[in-house]
């Protein structure tokens, strides 16, 4: 558990213990003549001083801030408190004389609160407060006030302690995230400067040589594109539910598929961007199905004032005029149909243009809906 921020709290408790110890010693010296058993006050004060020194030393070590010491702390304080009627005497106590623990008894309340939060602080305050009331025969206003103050101290300090733990954890998480981000950037730069360059080189030389080397070149090209997509740190987009359609489409970039887009973000509501992305994916799948695995394709994204236009073009043989309408009429345009469906749901239109010798072009228009 992170506890750097708790160190000052523990130190403050030690200071409180010594200050209240001094107060107890002074009050014992002033009142010792009226005690029923004045000699017994000596070992009681010795225990008080020794315990103050011992806890200050032990609580300074995080390993000791657990149940055994916390319980011992509470028991020692209870013992001093319960010994008070015998040492001090009932009559003196009832006429308002302080117990042997007085303010010092708040020490365990604070340690419990800092170690375990509000609830634990309140429990310690109630136990010690009850004992304090028990040693007196009648309830006085001051002993009730003392109990209330101890209860409040336990709850307030517990609350502060919990806050420090939480903010410490939050701080650490933020630091970790930042470190991860920096490391990711460093890796991306490194990969960019070395591996990507070599892969591009292999691709280029290999393609020149042809044959088996050409195959290697093709693989290198694929890996280059995949790696590049992996290290691409997406540009921070505007806050809100909108996402950048460019980032969605960039995932389709391969050596065979070119993605052309503006330099500035094309923001769309996440759901719309996802649907457009899926439609483009379907169009690209269609290209592979009709033109074969190595077929090239070009995607163009345009950001118009009233909507976005995405075109997907391939270099296939094209579809003869009439064939398209015929196929659509027979309900055989499966993929095209799914593209149309998706885009129609967004209030957009799909146009399929095919020119013999210049491939097929699917143009998706999606209106920008005023939010």
């Amino acid at each position: 558990m992170p506890d750097a921020l708790q160190v000052p709290l523990w130190r403050a408790i030690a200071v409180f213990r010594f200050a209240s110890m001094a107060f107890v010693v002074v009050s014992v010296i002033r009142n010792v003549r009226d005690y029923t058993h004045p000699v017994a006050a000596v070992p009681a004060v010795a225990v008080l001083v020794l315990w103050s020194v011992a806890t200050a030393a032990l609580y300074a070590r995080p390993a000791w801030r657990h149940w055994p010491l916390l319980l011992a702390d509470l028991l020692v304080t209870l013992a001093l408190l319960l010994a008070s009627p015998w040492v001090v005497g009932r009559t003196a106590l009832d006429s308002g004389a302080p117990t042997l623990a007085v303010a010092w008894q708040a020490g365990p309340v604070l340690t419990w609160a800092v170690s375990g939060g509000r609830r634990r602080g309140a429990v310690a305050a109630v136990i010690l407060g009850a004992a304090d009331l028990l040693v007196r025969d009648k309830l006085t206003q001051s002993s009730i006030t003392g109990l209330m103050l101890m209860l409040l101290a336990g709850v307030a300090v517990g609350h502060v302690a919990r806050l420090t733990v939480e903010s410490e954890q939050r701080l650490q998480r933020a630091a970790e995230l930042e470190a991860a981000g920096r490391e990711r950037e460093r890796l991306a730069r490194g990969i960019h400067d070395s591996v990507l360059q070599v892969l591009a080189m292999v691709q280029r030389r290999g393609a020149h040589l042809g044959g088996e080397a050409g195959e290697l070149a093709r693989l290198a090209g694929e890996q280059e594109a995949a790696l590049r997509a992996l290290i691409a740190t997406s540009a921070p987009t505007a806050p809100g539910p909108d996402i950048d359609l460019r980032a969605v489409l960039d995932r389709y970039a391969t050596p065979e598929v070119s993605i052309a887009a503006p330099a500035t973000p094309v923001l769309l509501p996440a759901q719309v961007a996802k649907e457009v992305g899926a439609a483009v994916g379907a169009a690209l799948d269609n290209v592979v199905r009709h033109c074969g695995g190595g077929a090239r394709a070009w995607v163009l994204l345009e950001d118009e004032p009233d909507g976005v236009v995405v075109s997907v073009r391939d270099e296939g043989p094209g579809i003869a005029e009439g064939r398209l309408a015929e196929a659509a009429g027979q309900g055989r345009l499966g993929v095209a149909q799914s593209i149309r469906g998706r885009i129609a749901d967004l209030g957009g239109t799909v146009e399929i243009v095919s020119e013999p010798g210049q491939g097929t072009e699917v143009e998706l228009r999606v209106p920008r809906v005023a939010a």
Partner: protein, 216 residues
Amino acid sequence: MTRVMVVDDHPMWREGVARDLTEAGFEVVATLGEGRQAVRVAGAARPDVVVLDLQLPDTSGVEVISGLLAAVPGVRVLMLSASGEQQSVLDAVKAGATGYLVKSASSQEFLEAVRRTAAGDAVFTPGLAGLVLGEYRRLATTPDQADDDGAPKLTDRETEVLRLVAKGLSYRQIAERLGLSHRTVQNHVQNTLGKLQLHNRVELTRYAIERGLDDA
């Protein structure tokens, strides 16, 4: 013989490109790994074409391109990048680069791009066409730019041509589809770049005047 300078921080890549260029009959006048060094050397090496990696360790592509154009007026810059760093490619084009190619292009594509750059043609990838289209769109819709007559606009024909380039059609295919000559298509593409570069220079000058930097 066309004089070519190669600027790339990756030695293996630099040597490979230089060898390809020499084999293809270009004169490689210098190969360098740093942008600032390239700007210093350019004045003496007097290249016709600079093949420039957009990701150099010491300085930005825009800075190198401005430096090169100042040192050797009229030099043509062909940018290469390993990945589509979109904004940096667009910035480089606005700064005066006339060609762009991804590093994964084949040797033949690369040599052809150098040849065309040397001849003064704009070398576009579909990705670059998409960026340029987006930039004109941005200029038209940014309020303080749109009111201003100085903001460059594309003609309908230029938009049509750029869209086809972005969709991967070759100039020949575009010429065929639109019933234009190959040369006309090339001019349209080149104009789209020229207007952006001019606008960029005007903007820089205006910015300088507004800030009073022209007094210095």
